[in-house]
Amino acid sequence: MRRTALALALLAPAVWADPTPQDIQRIMQRDFHPRGQATMERVVQDGVQRVCTETHDRPPPDLAKALEADQMKTIVYPEGSLMGDWRRGEAIAQGGRGLTWNDKPGDPAGGSCYNCHELSPRELSHGTIGPSLRRFGSARGSSSEVQRYVYGKVYNAKAYNVCSQMPRLGASGTLTSAQIKDLVALLLDPASPVNE
């Protein structure tokens, strides 16, 4: 009897263990309902979300590298130049619509870029969660390598930093290839206000 009590006492901490990401996912599947375009598969974590949750965004370097390589494979580069129109890019950077349950499916989305980044010096209302991108192109030029990096980073930020807080704007279907090209131009075109 005493032994049973001891065994129970030893087991007790397990009851208080933090809920695992698997537990949370089951609870969310029970507590959430689909609405508009926000369907239930969105509460199912993929490998990136799972690992970043489990490690509090600090995965071991080997695992991070493997996941980043995996994410890199999702990036689809279009043929030809990756530079679109920086004026359209500015409008996309300003826009914050897209993928929420009250956005109309099929309507063009924004990139929500200014929510987190400083870009054009004319837009003072910018967030600070991400780094400032002012003079991004003046500092780096607009070679095809730099274009490819920016396109890829916007398409899937997790290919470069697996637990980045930046959404995978191309891979998630938020932005089209043409829109991402316009954002490449916003960052790299010498005429863009970002490079003033």
């Binding site: 208080w16 933090d18 809920p19 990401p21 537990d23 949370i24 996912q25 609870i27 969310m28 029970r30 507590d31 959430f32 309902h33 689909p34 609405r35 926000a38 369907t39 239930m40 969105r42 509460v43 974590q45 990136v48 979300q49 970043c52 949750t53 509090h56 993928l99 929420t100 349950w101 009250n102 200014y114 929510n115 987190c116 209302s125 910018h126 967030g127 600070t128 969660i129 997790k158 807080q165 959404p167 995978r168 998630s172 279907g173 938020t174």
Partner: protein, 263 residues
Amino acid sequence: MRLIAFAAALFASCAASAQDVGKEIQRYRPMVAAGSPAELFELPGEELWKKPQGPKNVSLERCDLGEGPGVLKGAYAHLPRYFKDADRVMDLESRLLYCMSTLQGRSRDEATARVFGSAERPSEFELLSIYIAGESRGVRIEPGMSQPKEKATYELGRALYFHRVGAWDFSCASCHGDEGKRIRMQELPVLYKPQYARPVIASWPAYRVSTSQVITLQWRMNDCYRQMRTPEPTFGSETTVALIHFLTVTARGEPYHGPGNKR
């Protein structure tokens, strides 16, 4: 309360003369600066609390918010907490829903058909929340943390806060995780740290100046998940209550000073 006193005085003076009203408006201005328009919703909230409704045609006045049936003083400051009758942890809004069901005999579908209102017509939950929260002004925030289910709810809320999910891979901490960050011009409180959670939690529910709406913590959880691009969390669900409980426990000790103003 001051605003309500003023509203009452305003009605009285309307009957008296236009000149008196002018004087009352002069008196009104500093009151607005000191208080919140949220207080204007306390009176309709109180009326709703006392209004017989539902198949049983009874009011919510016998609803037990944790301090005993009908006791409002300090009740909000001690929520969320475990309720034996429901065998779960409840925040104010899920508890109100429970009372609408048990006391008034209303169905969940009917009672939750319109949980978030508009500037023109706040919802029942919004009006009731403002009234009931106002009865906790000055009371220290001390949600339940002694019962096993309260501790489990807190742990669930904490895990949810850091759980990355949805089409944009966000967790609550994606925005509310580091100090000194903003979205556009909006400063982001790091809500898992007591010094940031305390002033924020102590002013909910609130009047939202930008939309002229009364907003509650259930609305806040709902609209954060909307922006996280997840499906919709069900009103009063364990997920929403756990997050509210986690945030409120983090804020404990702060004297409740709402209903407040939000941007």
